[in-house]
Amino acid sequence: MKRKNWVVAITVVFFFIGAAAGHAMAVDEIRIGTIGPTTGWATIFGQGCLNGIKLALDEYNNEFNGVPIKVFSEDTKADVEVMRTKLDTLKTRDNVHLIIGPSLGHEGMAAVDWGARNPEVPMLIGYSAPEDITMRKATDSVIRPGWTGAQVIFNFGQYCAKDLGYKKIIIVGQDYSYPWDQAAGFIRGFLENGGEKVERIWHPVEAVDFSSIMAKLMNMSKEYDAVLNNSGGAQVVGFFKQWKQFGLDKVYPQILGQANVPIVSMLSELGDSALGVYSSLHYYDGNPSEANRKFRESFKKKYGHYPDVIAVQGYDAVHVAFKAMKAINGQVDDPKKFITALRQVKMSVDESPRGPFYFDKYANPVQNIYIKKVVKKDGRLMNEAVKTYEEVSQFGPYADMADKYMAAPATTRDYPPGDKISYFKEIEKYFGKGYVEKLKKNNGWVD
């Protein structure tokens, strides 16, 4: 008697919780869901994006044409299984009209999967950079007003070979897909524009001690011209630290950085050791444009510190959403219309802190890529652009052979090959002899 009642009671309770969870929402409001890692080790990636989102919404007074906007913030805890659940929550429990996020690479890959199975909810990818989200796995409802790992670094490889004159480079990075993507993009730009060799050294994502790698780098200093640090977060701090400790700053020129290396939040910890570091990105904090100035100052006012590119993603996503909503007169309850409008948004240089951009047919931005250098201005460290490449798509220099690019093998930690001969064999195979001839004739890419 008791046990049965007990079981029934508990089941009924759960049932009511479950049923209550699916209650209907009010109609006259616009609901935006945000998703990203806002707790745990990846907090800065999720929280940064969320800060940008909130700042942008403030600019619109949290409403659109008088209709209030409600934000549902979900935390992924950097766990994909949790993210899937939260995405379902946002869709079925909160009935959101739009999802902005996520931030991490593996989150993004799982998110596009979810987007393909849930095409009624448009998703604006935040910071996630794996290229397949808007290439091999692209799906209608997933739009990325962000970037891909390779997109921002093709031209960096080119710059290092052509402008800085390096011939052989070592890339030291964390062993997972995002740095693989960055290394691959760099290698393409480097080897196709005069570079000879790129050596990749991978270490665990959470390396404890770089001293042995430093020893190795010291050993290789006679043969190689420069070192690129292909990591993010705490690992960068550790790397720079031990670089100096072991006196490597005396045998190599300044460190080259991957996209996440000299971001604003890192600069305060790296201090002067970051001076002179080159890197490339679709945004630079030293951009004197009015849009950037306004963004930075209002962010500082609201949050007490300057923003970095992570916040830009959230900020831009909201502006993109609003432009689309304007175009369809706020009819966010018609997902097809909303999605089409989103994909057609164009942002001018006055509307985004990063500069102008528009979406390619896979819904990834075609935007400026800046080669930047860390300098000190008014006593503060910041990034300044030394060269700008305009209208770069996620396919970089391969924009007119996108299919060939996607047909080539996906990036892994060893692919594409890092030495010139093997590399050229590969591109001849996948991009054709004609492409190789063109490279030889033009001595690289046409600027």
Binding site: H203, P204, A207, S212, Q242
Partner: protein
Amino acid sequence: MSLLVIMSLFNGLTLAALLFITASGLTLSFSLMRVVNLTHGAFYMAGGFIGVSVIKVSGSWLLAMLAGGSVMAVIALLEEKFLLRWARGNDLIETLISLSVAIIIGDLVLVIWGGYPKTIEIPAMLSGVWTIPVIDMVYPIFRIFMLGLAILIIVALWLFLKKTNLGITIRAGVDNFEMVSTLGINVRRLFTIVFCLSGFLAGVSGVVGGTFMMLVVGEDWRILTLTLIVIIIGGMGSLGGTIAGALITGLIYSFATAYIPEFSLFILFLPVAITLSIRPHGLFGAKA
């Protein structure tokens, strides 16, 4: 290539020094209290972050070290007095309590210092490189200092355990807990002192580690895992064992990172599995 070998050797030794400094506290608390203090990693991290703040305010590295250690000693005191003591006698519950405290401290660190990585500047006196005579190799002074610090702690602990009354009592307590209590010695107080000391060592090692590499949320679990590896290999409760464990772990990690960096993490765990299959209580551990 032989330069790489020599460098890896030095790297291994200095890493071992850091590991030893970090593990010494844990081995101390285990040897007497038979509690695996899972809060140890959190003490390391929190102590390090406290050092970051102290150095920002005072500019003194020494002060940062002492502050990190002392604050952790106090927290250890509170943990022992109010939480662990309550569960006295039940090792498993004590361990689980220490785990929950670790989770709590971990999140508090995130709240107070944020999610961005932080580092502690090497004090000017200890920065720079030194050319080691004979082999003519340049090596960071700070790492050599760490080696020196580890040796200092080894000697201090050895003297403490072997020569002082307190130390002798602690060792007696390790070997025969009941007997020591019946002798009228306040074993309770002993526990508290030992636990505080282990917290102090953990906090100090956090500041040293934060100077050596960096500090970030999540470091607590990494350090805890490394420390456990050192102690399992070396054997619980033995000072010599901790030294051996630290040496083995440090050297293997350094050489692995130099030659096969992609697998360095996995290589770290292999000695544990091997040690366990041959000598389950560690190289120098006594059969419990």
